[in-house]
Every structure is written in structure tokens, then in C-alpha cells.
């Protein structure tokens, strides 16, 4: 992909102060490019910083370090008003649609809210837009006055998606959009996202811990471990030929059907370390089956598609 990215994030770092003397570095120096029309997935285990990174680059929680360029604008340099306008172009869908919808607000009003906030259209035009949006996400426009609790989990996620696309954003950030849904409903919502992407020319930043979903759904993938991107590349490349030992372990650990019972012994050892006290050198070295001395002392940089000392030396 040689064209200019739609969104360019550079050296994103997000520190949260824990006490006067201690910071938690949730995202550490991450670069990410998002190209128009693609689906980029960020994968990793809990606490790896994938949600924090997504919130930082969509400027929902501005990062403590780094820059984000969207189109020709640098988000960190915009005035309040300019930022408000720029935000129309990035919208989010969250994991728990019940938590992200106001239980006392009828769903029609929830879907119209972004339009109201950005003062788009007359009341009547907004109502028409809401009906069209509900139809587009597979809900009945007649249900506009019902409340979130009157819908199933899958339907609530459709409501959240309708609200997210109300402003016709260019980028949709979907943070674990199907993780809270029943298996039989997950594919309905994935298919909906695929349809909307096609129909509206959306660019998707898709955050997930579920590798089978990512493999099916994304064009490119970035793998995070303890605040850092350790590997990125086209989905097929990363899944067929994972280079980083962590990516390899993650793919091997994802349960698959139809391969019979597992043989104990192949699981990666240990736990994800605390980001408050990250290991020295490569953060993955205490769990890495192939780590060498250098990995304990020197932080590997993301060179090309992978951040691993062993790859620098041409070994695999």
C-alpha cells in the first residue's frame, strides 16, 4: 500500500499516573497507519493496551505522547471547535451495548443524539435519518420509541452501530463489538459491519481478542503485547507465517474445532506480566520459548513487521 494513510499515528504513548512516583505505561511508542477502506485489527490479550491505543488515536482519551494525523489535520493541534468537527469522522462501537446506551433514553433519541450534538438537520430530517439508519442496521423503524432493555444483546449492538454511523464517519472504531454476544448472533453483527463498510466506504479499526474473527474479518493486523506492537502485517501473512514468538503462541492457543482433543504441554508458560512492572528488554522474554541473553537486556524495535531480536539475525 503506497498511498497516503487516512490516519497516521506516530509514537503514541499513553501514561496513566498511579502515584506521584509511578506511571503505568499502557501504550508505549506505537505507530499505526490506517488506509482508506481497509479493516485493521488490533489483537492481544487483556491489558495489552489495544483499547487504550484505539481510544488514543481516536482522540477520545488524547495520548500523553505522539501525534495523530487525520487527513491533513494533526488532531493534537486543533482548536476545540476544529476537534469537534474532526471527531465526526471517527466514531466508536463498544463491547457492551447495554453499558454504552442510556437505559432511560429511547433508542431513536440515542441514534439521533450525535446529529443533535453536531446540529445536523431539522428535527424532521433527523427523524427520517434515524428511520433510515434503523433500517440499515436491520431494526424496525417502528421501534424508535422503545428502550434499550426491550432489545436483545444483538439488537442493542445494532443500535450502537446505527448511532456510530449517524454522522457518516470515515472511520469506525469497533472495540470487541461481538464479544458479549451469543455465538449464533455474532456472525449477524459481523456481516452487518461488512455490509456497512461496503455501503458507506468505511474504514474499520477492529479490536478483538478473538483470532478466528480477526482472521476472517480484517485486511491487516497489529499484534500487541504489554503496550507495544510486536508484529503487524497483512492478515494472511501474519496468520500463515507468524514471525514473532508471541504471535505464534497466540495463534497456536486459539481453540479450533474438528482437530480432536488437545495434547497437553504446548501451552505458553506464565502470565501476562503487570504493565506496572514490565520485564526488562523484550517484555515477552520471560515467557518466550526461544529467548536469548540479548532479549533480557535490549528492547527490540519494530523493524519491518516484527519486533524481535531473533528476526534481526535472520533466524526463525
Amino acid at each position: 500500500m503506497s498511498q497516503t494513510p487516512l490516519l497516521q499515528a506516530r509514537a503514541i504513548t499513553q501514561r496513566f499516573p498511579i502515584s506521584n512516583s509511578q506511571n503505568l505505561v499502557a501504550v508505549n511508542n506505537a505507530d499505526l497507519d490506517l488506509y482508506a477502506g481497509e479493516t485493521l485489527a488490533i489483537v492481544g490479550e487483556s491489558g495489552c493496551g489495544k483499547t487504550t491505543l484505539a481510544r488514543a488515536i481516536s482522540w477520545l482519551v488524547p495520548p500523553t505522547g505522539g501525534s495523530v494525523h487525520l487527513g491533513g489535520m494533526e488532531l493534537g493541534r486543533l482548536s476545540k471547535n476544529e476537534l469537534r468537527n474532526a471527531r465526526q469522522q471517527i466514531q466508536m462501537v463498544f463491547q457492551d451495548p447495554y453499558g454504552s446506551l442510556n437505559p432511560r433514553q429511547p433508542v431513536g433519541a440515542a441514534i439521533a443524539e450525535p446529529l443533535t450534538i453536531h446540529r445536523i438537520g431539522t428535527t424532521r430530517e433527523r427523524a427520517e435519518k434515524v428511520a433510515a439508519l434503523m433500517e440499515a442496521v436491520g431494526l424496525r423503524p417502528d421501534d424508535v420509541n422503545r428502550y434499550p432493555h426491550q432489545f436483545s444483546g444483538g439488537q442493542r449492538q445494532r443500535i450502537a452501530i446505527a448511532r456510530a454511523i449517524a454522522l457518516e464517519p470515515r472511520i469506525l472504531v469497533a472495540d470487541e463489538p461481538v464479544s458479549a454476544l451469543d455465538v449464533s448472533v455474532q456472525s449477524q453483527v459481523l456481516n452487518l459491519l461488512a455490509d456497512l463498510k461496503e455501503a458507506h466506504g468505511l474504514t474499520l479499526l477492529f479490536i478483538s481478542h478473538d483470532l478466528t474473527v480477526v482472521r476472517h474479518f480484517a485486511d491487516r493486523v497489529a499484534v500487541m503485547y504489554l503496550g507495544k506492537i510486536v508484529e503487524q502485517g497483512p492478515v494472511v501473512e501474519v496468520f500463515e507465517h507468524p514471525k514473532h514468538p508471541y504471535t505464534q503462541a497466540l495463534i497456536a492457543a486459539a481453540p479450533k474445532i474438528g482437530q480432536g482433543k488437545r495434547t497437553p504441554g504446548s501451552a505458553l508458560k506464565g502470565d501476562v506480566p503487570s504493565p506496572l512492572n514490565p520485564p526488562s528488554g523484550c517484555a515477552f522474554h520471560p515467557r518466550c520459548p526461544v529467548a536469548v541473553d540479548r532479549c533480557q537486556t535490549e528492547v527490540p524495535l519494530l523493524k519491518g513487521d516484527v519486533a524481535c531480536h531473533l528476526k534481526d539475525e535472520g533466524r526463525s
Partner: protein, 319 residues
Amino acid sequence: MIQDAAPLQVEDLRVAFATEGGSLTAVDGISFVLQAGRTLGLVGESGCGKSVTALSLLGLVPAPGHITGGRILYGGDDLLSITEPQLAALRGKRIGMIFQEPMTALNPVFSVGAQVAEALWLHEPVSKADAHIQAVQMLERVGIADAAVRADSYPHQLSGGMRQRVMIAMALICKPDILIADEPTTALDVTVQAQILDLVLEMQAELGLAVLFISHDLGVVSEIADDVMVMYAGRVVEQAPATQLFTKPNHPYTQGLIATLPQSYQKDERIPAIPGQVPDLRELTQGCAFAPRCPIAEDRCRSETPPLVGGTACWKVGA
């Protein structure tokens, strides 16, 4: 009375919940056997009755739920007709259980070593000092490094994976015949999930456990179960050896579930979704509960409930 590695046999179990709108049938006549050294996977979506089934085996169905029928045969007794003290003596001793969220299942104000030890001295004639020694050994056995030190930790000081190891130590310290595992890896990351699945398999091999493994995740069940039972709206719709169920599912619901897994499709290929949603038990009508979502349902499916015959509860299979 209790024979070595006695199997547990459930016959026509029924559980109902009394609600303002009347009685809801959460489990509607299910039967299965747990055998030593084998794992039965119980699969289904939210509200299908899988957790209620697990709780029934231990007499722990929460009010307003109650068991309305059936038998649970274990070691010559029907667990549904023995007294609460008799049941309490079995619970934790012959039948161990682990849950999805170990943080809520562990007591936050006692050290994990004390909790594992308690599981032992409650049931066995050991001194508390001996119980503690055995608890440390058990913690070591389930893969907790530095177990003697870790035994003094409190649950919040341990990671999710470690807490689940502690739960497994508690469940297995009395060397039970049966382990009931209700979504034990759902709250864990995939690399830690793999560790816990390995641990369950190892402990099963060591103790000859009969395992009931409940999960919504077909991939996990495929990797751990010998036999699989699929539940939908309180009933078993399909029951088969795991290899058969995952390669040649018979029931349209099982077929649909397997077909919706993204692993089977090329990129950008459309995933065939099951239309509609998991039914609300309050809105169940006559006939097969899956009929409203079933691609091949016919009139009979909407009026008569299909019995489980030859491992499948469907009028259209083998018809």
C-alpha cells in the same frame, strides 16, 4: 456405599423457576451419564440451561428455581432424595466444581492456602497443620510456582489464571470422582486458557476424573471433550461423540452453530448466520424451540416437541 470412580447418572432432570409470570422451565427433561476418565462437554448459548444443569447436580439451584423432576444417581443414591447434610458431605469431597469467575468464588479475606486447606479438613480427618501441608502440595501440583509462599497470598494478589489454578486445587484436593467445570476458561486470555485446559486434562488422567465441562465456546469443547451435548432452550438437541458432532452435526442448530464459526470461511466470504435470537423462556411456544430460527422447519416442528432419538432431537433428521 460409594464405589470406586462411580459414574453419575442423570435421568429426566427438570428444573423450573417460579416467577411472577408463572413457572419457567429452565431444564426440560435431560439425561446423561458422567463416566470415569471421560469428559462430557455441554454446549449452548446464554439461557439454554447449561449452568442450571450443573448447579442441580450439587443441589445448588438458586431460588426461585427448584428441581421439579428426575433422578441423579450416584453411588447407589438418588442425590435428589438424600438429606442436605448427606449432600453437603458429597459436595466438594466426591464432586468438585470450578466456576467462570474465580475471584467471586474465592473468599477475599482468607489466604488461598487456608481456603484450599479448608476444603480438605472439612471433609477429611486431618489436623489443620496437615491440611495446610497438603494444600501447599496441591497448589504446587496445579502449577503454582513457589507454592509455600503463594499459599499466604490473598485472591486479589493473584492473576486470573492463578486464581483458577487455586480453584482447581480446592476442587481436587479431596480427590473427587467428578469435576464440574462451568465456563472455567471464559474469563481468561487465550494463552492462559490453554494452560488451564492442559491442567484439567492432566488432573483427569491422574485422578481418573469424570468431567462435565460447560462452555459456550465450541472450539474449547472440541479440544477437551470426549462426548458433547448441545442444549437449546432447556432441552438437549444433540448428543454425540465429539469427533462425530463436530464433523457431522445432525441437528440444524448444531449445524448452524458450527457453520457460523469464522474459522471455516475464506476472507470476505459471508458467514451464514442463524437468523433471529436465542429465545426467551417466557416466550416459548409449542413444538421445537428452534423451529422459528430453523431453515428446514415444517408444520409438525411448530406443534410437536421432537424427542431425543439416536442422539438428535429433530423431526427432520432420519425422517
